[in-house]
């Protein structure tokens, strides 16, 4: 590999779509700075993201405690959405790396690919193959069955079958 393989082609950078978008960005930024920003009110409005307190999960609830179960389901939905967004971000990184490197993507994007594939496998282990259920005990039982399956494989002689979170 040559020394300048890490940088893009110097000759035809003006043809890249990013270069064309930069010109539009400059026009829009000048318009914004001359006509929009001088008229803005100085105490700018501020918004926050909601903070949710942790509540006991389903494995810490009594079997007949409906309130605990309801709060645990709400928390589980939020956690699932957070995991979805994490995987989206990793996937975006991988696709951006692939687009940037083009023909060299199999050599240059190994870290992004590993991260994405590991996180996708973990997401599938935790949330996948259950369909659109809103029942929390389905996910709980999936974890239980997975632990049992791994333990039986371990007893049968497979040393790599160990349960990890």
């Amino acid at each position: 590999m040559a020394a300048d393989d890490d940088r893009p082609d110097q000759i035809n950078t003006n043809l890249l779509p990013s270069a064309q978008f930069n010109k539009l960005e400059r026009v829009a930024n000048t318009f914004r700075e001359t006509f929009v920003l001088p008229f803005r009110q100085t105490p700018r409005p501020v918004y926050y993201h909601r903070k949710f307190a942790r509540v006991p999960t389903i494995d810490q609830c009594d079997i007949s405690d409906e309130v605990c179960k309801y709060e645990a389901t709400e928390q589980h939905e939020r956690d699932k959405k957070v995991d979805m967004f994490k995987i989206k971000i990793l996937r975006k990184r991988l696709t951006h790396c692939n687009w940037y490197w083009g023909a060299n993507k199999y050599e240059k994007c190994q870290t992004e690919r590993e991260q994405y594939q590991d996180s996708a496998v973990n997401y599938h282990l935790r949330y996948g193959e259950l369909g659109r259920t809103s029942e929390l005990y389905e996910y709980y039982m999936k974890q239980k069955h997975r632990m049992i399956w791994l333990r039986r494989r371990q007893e049968a002689g497979d040393a790599t079958a160990a349960y990890t979170d």
Binding site: F35, R40, P45, V46, Y47, Y48, D65, V67
Partner: protein, 216 residues
Amino acid sequence: MCIEILSAQPSGRPCARSNRIVLGTKMPGWSSLRAPTLNGARFFLNNIRRSQNVHTSAPKMGGGGHAETMVIKPSQYQWNRIKDELHFYILLGVLPLAAFATYCNVVYGPAELQDIPEDYVPMPHEYLKNPVSRKLVAFFNDWLMESYEKRYEKTVYTVWRDMEKQNQRLDFWKMQRLMGERQDQKNFYFIPDRSNMSERYTREMYDHIQKIKKSD
């Protein structure tokens, strides 16, 4: 100008008046359609390029001698209606809303994200980004729009209340079953007191009784 009167036998000779187009062809095998087609084509070609002014049956003689005429021309209804509707929707819809949106974005602008400071509980309208929705939620806070926390607590309360009711029912059925199995009680039935189902009712009765006691 003259109007051609549709006759059964069309004339094939040139018309004496110069401003008419005349057809005189002979089409074999189409004899039954020859007259109407020729007359229709003549009518069409005579009227295609100019609108004819027709004297009305009872022309109004205005002072000066020029009578009113009815102008025969294609309808302008669709074109006029298109202009009307465009005018309506642009002047009453597009321009005011665009002006309002530019005002909101230029003067106020979208909110900026920051971390929640210590020991501060933000109002429900401070979780939103758009200045219009912030203003609406701040104005209608407890009247029309309830916050997420309030909604959550209300659902938790309904879950708890229904759980309590079901537990009471289960205890009642268990008691009935045991009475039937053991047969060691006198046979007057247990009449359940349902007045504790509504917390609010019991609280109001309690306050009422306390007030009566204090006034004594």
